[in-house]
Subunit: 255 residues, 2 copies
Amino acid sequence: MATGRTHRPATRSRGIPEATVARLPLYLRALTALSERSVPTVSSEELAAAAGVNSAKLRKDFSYLGSYGTRGVGYDVEYLVYQISRELGLTQDWPVVIVGIGNLGAALANYGGFASRGFRVAALIDADPAMAGKPVAGIPVQHSDDLEKIIEDNGVSIGVIATPAGAAQPVCDRLVAAGVTSILNFAPTVLSVPDGVDVRKVDLSIELQILAFHEQRKAGEEAAAGTDGGAPAVAARSESADKGPDGDVPAVMPA
Amino acid sequence: MATGRTHRPATRSRGIPEATVARLPLYLRALTALSERSVPTVSSEELAAAAGVNSAKLRKDFSYLGSYGTRGVGYDVEYLVYQISRELGLTQDWPVVIVGIGNLGAALANYGGFASRGFRVAALIDADPAMAGKPVAGIPVQHSDDLEKIIEDNGVSIGVIATPAGAAQPVCDRLVAAGVTSILNFAPTVLSVPDGVDVRKVDLSIELQILAFHEQRKAGEEAAAGTDGGAPAVAARSESADKGPDGDVPAVMPA
DNA sequence: CCATCTTTGTGCACGCGTTCACAAAGACAT
DNA sequence: ATGTCTTTGTGAACGCGTGCACAAAGATGG
């Protein structure tokens, strides 16, 4: 998953494990699809397959919410949709601001998945005066001078940062000072926030790098010594003379 | 997390734990910043702070790669940059295709974090004939009819899916059939792929929902601090949702 | 009302990841 | 050389998450 979390005091958010919370949206999506097809009930096996998880895991996840199933039958789709929505807090309206209306910010503003789940884009904010007033996704962009006022007027508690890395921390500080307590960060930076503020991070580059690692592993071990071409001029250490240019320091793995 | 298929065989990817692999890009970014400031060495404590993790965790992570530190001094920045880059496979060039050039796909194409880390956008692919030939981020969009040929001609093994949900699985199947073995999925769908293919998922909506959960919990603690408020989720089957400060709202359903 | 069948809910064991705490290793000063 | 000081590398304990396997619960049919 694409996420990182800043220090959480392991409060185990009300008895529901973090891992379970992270899967609830997945279940909710699968259940919504079933609901649209007017499927009345679903077994843990079927729902687990639709959500891409293990059925035992799904049952255990639901057990944290309560006993909402009927043995021998399964789960009532509509009822479960409601319970999970309520548990996630999606039965209320969450005004959200997006700061940084570049390519990514515009994409986020246009992303349908937000509005369809109780999230409402309350404002788009950018530091570029030339952007001010220009509508993106039907919403006029506002200048970041008014950030605090926008937050307060709309009662925003969730902010999305889609600025360049350098601007992320200052923007974050201002958001927090204005009252935002949850931040979704797309900028490739570690944000530092006071206690009580949640930060989740989505980093496109990191995801690709993790894929590259596995891809390299799949490609085989001989690839490491074979291709020498694209190395980005990172000089190897001068001291250790016994190690060749591409000679590997013995990795931890035996074989 | 790596959301491959149902239960992958717990691949301890070459002795390096998944959790460690997921943090390596984080360390690499912090180290790169230090390198640009010409900092020669760094202690585990300093680097851990910069990466936003625990120093013991960082040292253990590095221990999986080998012993690259010097006791009493710390780690050589340049050397560590090289080692991590090599471990992640970033010393080679990875051609990547992006399928689905909507708002998000265009944002990804323009995203600088790709090119700066050994990833090269080899092609942009879209199903809309009107898009064909139109340049995005300086790269002409190609029609999806040519997907297989593009993959093969460029030796692409990593694909990024930024299509609508409905198109994701068919696109995924074609990518895999053409030889792609790693997929970064932005579409809100569970992709099913054969063994040996890695899928990582980035879901903007899910991240926001997780934030909403914590946000709701924080709001509930404030409102009901001291009362029975901490009642575990085993509330009765009635709709006694008393957590939110505002009243109960019927479940929001996507249109 | 009883038997059978289906599916949930969960106790339990196991493995991974995190954290602590400290010995070992090297730098540095004398 | 020797002692001191700093920092790494890691053994060990612990906690969380996962998956198995099964008993309990309810539906269903006779």
